[in-house]
Subunit: 308 residues, 2 copies
């Protein structure tokens, strides 16, 4: 257990992941109430909305109202997700925290189906984002590699394909004179296993020994927490997760890209292993029960359903 | 990943774990149909019923009919669980496979509440079981330590308390001239973390280097698959799990001892890491969907809800 980090930073993605996938209508006030409760748990960052087409993602039709309605708590970052330049332009008009992310995809097929662009074209779009970040004094943080473990069209993405994408991101850093905090590997459709985690992290560490790595894990095939543990063992200290295991991927191409790993379950596992998260477990479990009440059906998180 | 086993043996506990906990009435014919489908997946052993009081566990009121109704497939073992001598006597009358197990509990409080006996008294009862096994030519296999990670009454059970229980089981081996296949650690209420897995296995390996260890894991707090992975890394090659994640513990003392780790999710994780199980993943996922249909509500297994 030697490389376990002493502390992990968890980004809460439940509001965005959850509200974009839920089929029923959720009241704007409930979304805001949930976000405000999450902000009281000690979690440092909450992804609140995505700036996407209301036609494509009806659950985000009220994203602007949610963004404007939140009473913010000092010390918490309230973010929103943009997946294209139009989304970024919307973010610039709204009062959430703007964190400069770069987003590319490892699977060509998934990239084209999801964004309508080739991987090459998305790199060009990232140049445009980086220009807008400069113009608006938005600090650049993480670069995200979506489908870094595979997708439902191409199956497993080979490790060297992931390495090549990151080489291109490293090139982009030099070309654009920016410095990413690190690389986030997203298991967008939850295909990963502990072995595929170890292979990717091993390959990246070998190539770039000081690279910080973050993980965005989905639990589509039940391996999410095992994957998180495999990464913790290798010293990974940055994770996305969703309260109550809310979420899924609305663009995954077919049914079944189920929720992210569950925040409170991840926090429980970390705390039981002596890893700090800064998150109040009971408060987070309370938020999970609130989420279940708001969406009106059982959610996959485990801990919230038990005494602990 | 050096100590990963090449092959694991999985005991399917879904029928017993599931049917004893489900609140609705499940038709005897459905139980038998499910067991017969499981027998076609390649799983080597299926725990079908528990010989318990119908008053205490209404879902097992038809256990005798289930036991008598199964059309058996060669090469598969169909077992039943007894928790007291009366249950064992019932098992002797019924046509399921009788596997000689010894069962003790690490938590004194859980033991008393669950069995009405002290730990000392349960050891005496095991002597009686071993006598009956001899009389009926039942081969002795595993010794099970329930609540080996903790319980809801006493919290975490210290590692040295687990070691002491196993010392007593080792003493029982000598005294009774039997040889257990190994020791099964049961996380009866799903309290374990990868760290508590490693600590227990480490302590047992240090004391008894050749001891075979099996794990019966519940996913009550979301750590089940991470715990399984932690054990796989240490070479553990024997697991209980339940198709679709059926189950729970009806005696756990309060709400929320949720299902076991899910067989098809565990099989997926093993196969993705190159570990053989002998189980046909698609057939097991089909059984999981059948289980969901039979119980009439969503079950926690993940893989069955996606394309894979």
């Amino acid at each position: 257990m030697s490389d376990l980090p002493a502390r992990v930073r968890i980004h809460e993605e439940g509001p965005r992941e959850g509200f974009q996938i839920e089929s029923g209508v959720i009241a704007t006030a409930d979304k805001i109430r949930f976000i405000e409760a999450l902000a009281c748990t000690g979690v440092p960052q909450i992804d609140c909305v995505s700036y996407v087409s209301a036609k494509r993602v009806p659950g985000m039709a009220d994203a602007d109202d949610v963004a404007r309605g939140i009473h913010k708590r000092p010390g918490v970052r309230y973010t929103g997700l943009w997946l294209n330049t139009r989304g970024l332009e919307r973010a610039l008009e709204l009062p959430l925290d703007r964190v400069g992310a770069v987003r590319v995809t490892a699977s060509e097929t998934f990239c084209r189906r999801n964004t309508g662009m080739s991987i090459d074209q998305t790199f060009d779009e990232q140049r445009n984002w980086l220009r807008l970040y400069r113009e608006h004094a938005i600090e650049v943080e993480w670069a995200y590699v979506m489908t870094a473990f595979g997708c439902n069209f191409e199956g497993e993405i080979p490790v060297n394909q992931v390495v090549r994408i990151i080489e291109r991101l490293k090139g982009l850093e030099v070309e654009q004179a920016v410095r990413f905090k690190g690389i986030y590997l997203a298991d967008t459709v939850g295909r990963g296993s502990p072995l595929s985690i170890e292979r990717r992290i091993g390959a990246l560490r070998e190539r770039w020994p000081d690279l910080r790595i973050g993980l965005h894990l989905h639990d589509t095939r039940g391996t999410g927490m095992a994957n998180a543990y495999a990464a913790l063992r290798l010293g990974v200290d940055q994770f996305d997760s969703t309260c109550a295991g809310l979420g899924g991927c609305p663009f995954a191409g077919h049914q079944g890209a189920s929720g992210n790993i569950c925040t409170e379950d991840l926090v429980y596992m970390c705390h039981e292993m002596g890893i700090e998260t800064g998150i109040d477990l009971r408060a987070m479990a309370e938020c999970a029960r609130m989420a279940e009440h708001i969406v009106g059906h059982p959610l996959p998180g485990k801990l919230m359903h038990t005494a602990f």
